[in-house]
C-alpha cells in the first residue's frame, strides 16, 4: 500500500505542487496584511450625523407617479446638504431632488465632493474619471466614478454614477491583497468566483496529497526518531563485501535506517531519491535472517533477490546488531591515490586524463565502471585552467570569471574511457568542461571539471571506486552503441574491450557531437572500423557539417532511427548501450521503447546525475 500511496503522492505533487506553494504564499501574505488596512478604514470618514427630514419636501407619491418606470423602493437620503430621494426598480437606480423632483445627475464635480466627504485622509482628490466597469468594484453593475486621492496609500474612492452612493475605498494594500486573493482562488479573470472548476480540481488534488501525505507521515516516522540520536541505543552494523571481507563496523542508533546510519559516517550508498524508497538503488544484502520484506522492498526488488536477503537500506531499521553485504561496498571506503601521467586536450572541451595508481588496478576496473574523483577545496585563477594554444579562441568565447573557487570538497563521477589493460594499467578519464552557460545565463563553471582542467602531469588525485552496473553483457549479440558528448568515454572502453577480445558480432557505434571540432578520437574510430569488418562507426553532427567524416547531420537518436533502426530486420536480437547527456538519453530510450525493444536489451549510463 505505502509504495502506491508514495507514487500517488509524488505524481499529484508534481501537478499541484506549484499551486500549493502559491496557496501557502498567498495565504501567508493575506494573513499578514491587516484587514483594516485592506479595507482602508484609516481614511474613511465616519458617517454624517443623522438630521431631521425636511417637512416641506416634495410628496413621495408625486415623485413615484412622475417616474417613467415602476418604482420598487423609495428611500430618503442626503447628497452633501441636499435632501434627495433614491428610487430603484428592477433594472436601475436613480436619484432625484427631494425639494423639486428634478433628476440629479452625478457629475465629475459632485462625485469629487461626495468622495471627499467620505474620506478622512491627508490626500487631495484628483479629477474624477467615469468608468463603465472596473475590476476594483467587481460586484457593482452600472456606471461609476473613480476619484483618486493623493495619499501614500494610493486611495481611490468609487461612487455609483447613478446614485452618488460611495461604493468602495480601495488602496494599495487592497490591491496587493487582491493579487494574492486571485492567486489563492485561481480566478484570474474575475477574481471573484472561487467555485471555478480549476480551483476545485486543484483542491481535490491537494486533498489527495494531504491524505496520502498523512499516511506517509505515519508510515515514515519511526518512534525512535523523536529521541535525539545521541540518546538512542547503539547497535552494531557490520558491513561486508560480497566476497566476505569485513569492511567496517559502525555504530548505528536505533531508529536510523541502514542508509542513514551509513550516511552519518560519510558512506553514501547509491541513491537518487535520498532514502525515500523511491529509486531502489540502495539495496544491501542482510546476512543471516533478514527482516520480512516491506511493500517498498517488494516494489523495487525481485522475488529472487528478496529471498537472498536483499533489502532497501533506506527501509531497513536494525533493531539488533546486523550484518550486511554491500555490492561495490569496498569502493565506498577506498581512497585510491593516483598520479596524473598525461593530459591530452582531445577537443577544446573534452580532455583525456591518464592516471597511474600506486597499485595495479583490479578486475573491478572494467569498461563501463566509473570512479568518483575527490575534488578538494580550491581557489584558482582564470590562468590556472589550462588549454593548448590552438584552443585559445574557443576558451576566449567562454568568458570565464577571473577567480574560480570551490569551498567544500565534492566528489565527481567519471567513467573509464579505455580498458585498463590496454593502457598499461592506467586509468583514462574523459572530462568535459562545463561552462554551465545555459540559456544565455552565466552560471558558475563546473566544480569538478574546472579542477580537472587545472591538472598537470605529476599532480596527485584521490578517488573512490570503481562503481556502477553499466557493463557489457555476455553473449555475442549484435551491439548498438549510441552516445553523445562525454558519453564517448564508457562506450569507447566497451568497444575496445569487445574488439580486443575478438568479438565477431556486428557492432555499430553512433556518436553525436555538436561539430567536427568537438568530436574526439575521429582517427581512432576510423582505424578501428578499417581493421574490424564487423565494426562500423557513424558520426552525427548537429551543427555545421563537414562531410569528410560525418555520416549525417542532425540529432543522433533521430539519425540512428532513420538510418539503422527503421531498416533493421530484427531489433530484438540486439543489445543497446547508451551514454550521453540527459536529453539525448531520454529521447533515445523513449525511441527504443516505441520500437518495442525490451528494457533488458537496453543498458545506459546517466552520467550519475
Amino acid at each position: 500500500m505505502t509504495p502506491w500511496l508514495r507514487k500517488i503522492h509524488k505524481w499529484v505533487g508534481l501537478i499541484v505542487g506549484v499551486q500549493l506553494l502559491l496557496w501557502t504564499t498567498s495565504g501567508f501574505v493575506m494573513s499578514l496584511l491587516d484587514h483594516d488596512a485592506v479595507e482602508g478604514k484609516a481614511y474613511r470618514a465616519s458617517a454624517p450625523a443623522a438630521r431631521a427630514w425636511p417637512p416641506d419636501a416634495l410628496a413621495p407619491a408625486q415623485v413615484v407617479a412622475a417616474a417613467a418606470t415602476k418604482v420598487q423602493t423609495l428611500t430618503t437620503g442626503w447628497l452633501l446638504d441636499r435632501p434627495v430621494y433614491h428610487l430603484s426598480d428592477s433594472e436601475s437606480a436613480r436619484t432625484v431632488d427631494a425639494m423639486n423632483g428634478a433628476a440629479i445627475e452625478i457629475d465629475a464635480t459632485l462625485a469629487s465632493a461626495l468622495a471627499a466627504a467620505s474620506y478622512a485622509g491627508p490626500g487631495k482628490p484628483a479629477t474624477s474619471q467615469r468608468l463603465d466597469k472596473t475590476l476594483e468594484v467587481r460586484n457593482h453593475d452600472g456606471p461609476l466614478w473613480r476619484v483618486d486621492f493623493s495619499d501614500a496609500n494610493d486611495t481611490t474612492v468609487y461612487l455609483s454614477a447613478q446614485t452618488g452612493r460611495v461604493l468602495e475605498h480601495r488602496n494599495k494594500t487592497w490591491r496587493l491583497f487582491d493579487v494574492f486573493w486571485m492567486l489563492h482562488i485561481m480566478d484570474y479573470a474575475g477574481r471573484k468566483n472561487f467555485n471555478n472548476p480549476l480551483v476545485v480540481t486543484m483542491a481535490v488534488g491537494g486533498l489527495w496529497l494531504a491524505l496520502t501525505g498523512i499516511w506517509l507521515l505515519v508510515a515514515s516516522f519511526h518512534w525512535h526518531e523523536f529521541v535525539p540520536q545521541r540518546f538512542r541505543r547503539r547497535r552494531e552494523l557490520a558491513v561486508y563485501a560480497p566476497d566476505g571481507t569485513r569492511l567496517s563496523t559502525l555504530a548505528s542508533a536505533v531508529g536510523d535506517s541502514v542508509y542513514v546510519a551509513m550516511a552519518r559516517q560519510g558512506l553514501h550508498l547509491p541513491s537518487n531519491c535520498g532514502g525515500g524508497q523511491s529509486c531502489g538503488l540502495c539495496e544491501v544484502r542482510v546476512r543471516g535472517v533478514a527482516p520480512p520484506p516491506t511493500a517498498a522492498d517488494r516494489a523495487h526488488l525481485t522475488g529472487a533477490k528478496l529471498k537472498q536477503g536483499y533489502r532497501l537500506a533506506c527501509n531497513l531499521h536494525p533493531s539488533a546488531d546486523m550484518r550486511i553485504e554491500v555490492d561495490a561496498g569496498a569502493g565506498l571506503w577506498t581512497r585510491h591515490t593516483a598520479i596524473v601521467e598525461h593530459v591530452d586536450a582531445v577537443t577544446p572541451f573534452l580532455r583525456e586524463i591518464r592516471l597511474r595508481m600506486a597499485q595495479a588496478p583490479g578486475p573491478e576496473f572494467r569498461p563501463g565502471a566509473y570512479v568518483q574523483i575527490h575534488v578538494p577545496e580550491y581557489a584558482l585563477q582564470r590562468a590556472d585552467v589550462l588549454h593548448p594554444e590552438h584552443h585559445r579562441e574557443d576558451w576566449a568565447a567562454l568568458d570565464l570569471p577571473a577567480a574560480l573557487t570551490n569551498k567544500k570538497p565534492v566528489r565527481r563521477s567519471y567513467s573509464l574511457a579505455m580498458p585498463v589493460e590496454r593502457v598499461g594499467g592506467c586509468l583514462i578519464l574523459l572530462a568535459r568542461f562545463s561552462p554551465n552557460r545555459a540559456h544565455g545565463k552565466q552560471l558558475p563553471a563546473g566544480k569538478g571539471s574546472t579542477w580537472l582542467y587545472s591538472l598537470k602531469p605529476g599532480d596527485q588525485v584521490h578517488f573512490s571506486g570503481p562503481f556502477g552496473d553499466f557493463a557489457l553483457k555476455p553473449g555475442g549479440r549484435e551491439k548498438v552503441f549510441i552516445g553523445a558528448g562525454a558519453g564517448m568515454a564508457p562506450l569507447r572502453a566497451m568497444l575496445h574491450a569487445c574488439l580486443d577480445t575478438g568479438a565477431k558480432e556486428r557492432i555499430h557505434f553512433w556518436y553525436g557531437a555538436r561539430s567536427l571540432r568537438d568530436t574526439p578520437y575521429i582517427e581512432e574510430m576510423e582505424a578501428l572500423a578499417a581493421t574490424h569488418r564487423n565494426f562500423s562507426w557513424h558520426l552525427v553532427v548537429s551543427g555545421e557539417t563537414n562531410a569528410a567524416f560525418a555520416s549525417a547531420q542532425g540529432q543522433v537518436h533521430e539519425v540512428v532511427q532513420e538510418m539503422l533502426l527503421s531498416r533493421h530486420p530484427y531489433l530484438q536480437a540486439c543489445d543497446f548501450y547508451l551514454c550521453g547527456p540527459p536529453a539525448m538519453l531520454t529521447a533515445t530510450r523513449a525511441l527504443l521503447r516505441e520500437l518495442g525493444v525490451a528494457e533488458e536489451q537496453v543498458a545506459f549510463d546517466d552520467f550519475k546525475i
Binding site: 407619491a61 413615484v64 420598487q72 467555485n195 476545485v200 515514515s220 531519491c273 523511491s278
Partner: protein
C-alpha cells in the same frame, strides 16, 4: 549528506508539524470551492422578489407623516407582504406602518412573522419553531438583536432571521452554511470569532505551510529517477 536526503528530512519533519493543518486546509478548501457560494448564501431558500409600489396616490401625505412623527429622520417606502409600507426612522427608533391606512405593522408578532417567513420560504417543509431572540447566536453574530428566528423542518435545518422592526430578512442559515462556517474556522484558524484572518497562529502556520510546500517541491526533483537498468 546528499541534498535529496535533506529535502526528504525537511519535508518529513515540517510535515509532522503542519501536516494535520494542511489536511484541514485541503478539506475545508475542497468544501468551500465545490459548494456553490449562492447555495451557501441560501439564495434558493428564500425569495425576496420585490414588487413595484402599488398605490402612491393613496399614501399618507407628507403633512400627516410630519404630524405623526415630528422627529422624522428618514424613511423608506417598500413592499411588505403585498402592500406598500413606510419604514419610518424617527427618534432613534424604526417601525413599519401601512402606507395607506397608517396602521402600525411592527413590532411583528409571532403569527405575522410566521406568515412572512412562509411567504418567502421556497421549500416544502413546515415551520418547526418561531423563536424570539435577544442574544444573537454565533451564526448571526453580526446582526442586530432582538430578532425573530423561524426554523423549518427541512433537511438543511433552515433558519430565517427577521427584524421585528422592519420585517427585513436578516439572514438565511442552513446546514451547508453552518458547515462552511465551521470549516472556514479551520481554514483561517480563528477558533473563537471565526473572522480574524490576521491572527498569529494562522501567520505562523501559513509560513510553515510555505516551507512545507517548498520542501515538497524540492523533493520532487529527486523523486522521479528510478533505478538504472543495466
Amino acid at each position: 549528506m546528499k541534498p535529496a536526503f535533506w529535502a526528504r528530512r525537511a519535508h518529513k519533519w515540517i510535515g509532522l508539524i503542519i501536516g494535520v493543518q494542511a489536511l484541514l486546509w485541503m478539506v475545508s478548501g475542497v468544501y468551500m470551492t465545490s459548494v456553490s457560494l449562492d447555495v451557501i448564501h441560501g439564495d434558493h431558500l428564500a425569495d425576496i422578489d420585490v414588487e413595484p409600489l402599488q398605490s402612491p396616490s393613496r399614501w399618507l401625505d407628507s403633512a400627516a407623516l410630519a404630524a405623526r412623527y415630528p422627529d422624522l429622520m428618514a424613511y423608506k417606502i417598500k413592499q411588505f407582504m403585498g402592500k406598500d409600507a413606510f419604514e419610518i426612522h424617527h427618534g432613534g427608533k424604526v417601525l413599519l406602518i401601512d402606507a395607506v391606512s397608517g396602521a402600525q405593522i411592527t413590532p411583528l408578532d409571532e403569527s405575522r412573522v410566521r406568515a412572512l417567513a412562509a411567504s418567502m420560504y421556497q421549500g416544502d417543509a413546515a415551520v418547526r419553531a418561531v423563536e424570539w431572540i435577544t442574544q444573537a447566536p454565533s451564526e448571526v453574530a453580526t446582526r442586530p438583536v432582538p430578532m425573530w428566528a423561524v426554523s423549518f423542518a427541512d433537511r438543511g435545518d433552515t433558519t430565517l432571521y427577521f427584524s421585528p422592526d422592519t420585517g427585513e430578512l436578516l439572514a438565511r442559515r442552513h446546514d451547508l452554511w453552518r458547515w462552511f462556517d465551521f470549516l472556514w474556522m479551520f481554514h483561517i484558524m480563528d477558533y473563537e470569532s471565526r473572522t480574524d484572518v490576521n491572527n498569529n497562529l494562522l501567520r505562523t502556520a501559513a509560513a510553515s505551510g510555505f516551507a512545507f510546500a517548498a520542501s515538497g517541491l524540492w523533493l520532487l526533483f529527486y523523486s522521479f529517477r528510478r533505478r538504472a537498468a543495466a
